[in-house]
């Protein structure tokens, strides 16, 4: 309930944060805190120092960048829900932000924090994977762009280097996109989540809570590309996945849910 002791540095800028990460062993970035602080309280996470990037207001924005929408990593979920640029250009992401946690969580949690935390059951990373989003990170060696498909490397693990700070998320403009999730209670993590979007003419589908990371449903996508209808393609949702078994659901049930929600998502697209 009370975290183990840690040091604290408030970063004034991204470069300041990068430097602080380099100075300390075992430092962790603190954004909205709604993934990290729960872990600190249960003493699952025990960083020596927290580098608080929460005041870097320059990283809070939603910007129309032509064929992409650029979102600052510190933009809060509640801001995504209400943003007219996002609603116009990539509504599925705004609608998904409205499903994250509860209103209190959405007032604080950030998209960057959620993405960097990389919980395989998270909604936003799953949608970003379906959208083929780009994640922009800055580190001591400068800035780089990481494709969503390479970003999530394991449960709570990402391609970010220890001293890198996620600064921006870039999503394509899509007209057709839907995210459905199954929960036991409204505030629960997704037992299974399915994100579907038409990106550059092809239908892309990603799954939450069906493996160690959010996963693209490649077998389903191939089936669609080969002319299968929604039901047939959805039947292949679980191929290549390793759904966990826990109190929210067993692996078999999850595999079944993936098929049900994939079909519904495709039909709603």
């Amino acid at each position: 309930m009370i975290p183990a002791a840690f040091g604290y540095h408030r970063a004034a800028s991204v470069d300041d944060a990068i430097e602080a990460l380099g100075r300390e062993e075992d430092a962790k970035l603190l954004a909205g805190g709604h993934s990290l602080i729960p872990a600190l309280k249960l003493r699952i996470a025990r960083p020596s120092v927290l580098v608080d990037v929460g005041r870097i207001d320059e990283l809070r924005y939603v910007r129309d960048d032509g064929d992409r929408i650029a979102i600052g990593a510190l933009t809060r979920h509640a801001q995504l829900v209400a943003d007219p640029v996002l609603e116009r250009g990539c509504a599925v992401l705004a609608r998904t932000a409205a499903l994250v946690g509860d209103p209190q969580v959405r007032h604080r949690g950030t998209i960057g924090g959620s993405v960097a935390h990389a919980d395989p059951a998270s909604d936003l990373p799953t949608v970003l994977l379906a959208l083929d989003a780009d994640l922009v990170a800055r580190g001591p060696d400068g800035e780089r762009t990481i494709a969503a498909s390479s970003f999530f490397t394991g449960p709570f693990e990402t391609a970010l280097a220890p001293r890198e700070v996620l600064t921006e998320i870039r999503v394509p403009k899509v007209e057709r996109g839907v995210y459905l999730k199954h929960t036991r209670r409204a505030q629960d993590w997704a037992t299974v989540g399915v994100a579907a979007a038409v990106v550059g003419g092809s239908t892309q589908v990603a799954l939450a809570s069906m493996g160690p990371t959010p996963l693209r449903a490649r077998a389903l996508e191939d089936a669609l590309a080969n002319g299968a209808d929604a039901a047939e393609a959805a039947g292949r949702s679980a191929e290549g996945t390793e759904p966990p078994s826990d109190v929210a659901g067993g692996a078999e049930y999850r595999a079944h849910l993936a098929q049900v929600y994939a079909r519904r998502a495709l039909e709603q697209l």
Binding site: P3, L30, P103, Q104, H107, A186
Partner: protein, 154 residues
């Protein structure tokens, strides 16, 4: 220790805090504002809900250092002297509380909800309160209280 200075219920407060101190314990233990309660350890129950910069947040999931420079309103800051805030009055009139432990959290969450959505439907109310748990009331009268507060223009 880190120094924090923030406005709490309209008053400027300053203190040295350990970085690990949660906002809820800062409010309770250092400022003596014990109306905000801790009901869980997984950010699930919302009993600790306060307003930070006008928005509802779970104060158990905010570090005191993160609230530095911020504007906090707790349950103690709602009533104007003897007169209860319309949301508080609505909860009493509709019997929206029994043991009272979750009540400050629900009241603050309601204040925030009605600022963002002054005329919510029952479904919207229930979803807006999904982050606040109550074991006594079954929520029926809490929903009635929110509706009554909305009608009163709270």
């Amino acid at each position: 220790m880190t120094n924090v200075a923030l406005t709490v219920n309209g008053e400027r407060r300053e203190a040295d805090v350990e970085p690990r101190q949660l906002l809820v314990y800062f409010l309770r233990d250092q400022l003596g504002l014990k109306g905000t309660n801790v009901g869980c350890d997984t950010s699930s129950c919302g009993a600790c809900t306060v307003l930070l910069d006008g928005e509802s947040v779970k104060s158990c999931t905010v570090l005191a250092v993160q609230a530095d420079g911020g504007d906090v309103t707790t349950i103690e800051g709602l009533a104007a002297g003897d007169e209860l805030h319309p949301v508080q009055q609505a909860f009493q009139e509709q019997h929206g509380l029994q043991c009272g432990f979750c009540t400050p959290g629900f009241v603050m969450a309601t204040v925030s909800l009605l600022r963002e959505n002054p005329s919510p439907s029952e479904e919207e109310i229930r979803h807006a309160l999904e982050g606040n748990l109550c074991r006594c009331t079954g929520y029926h009268n809490i929903v009635r209280a929110v509706e009554a507060a909305a009608r009163a223009g709270a």
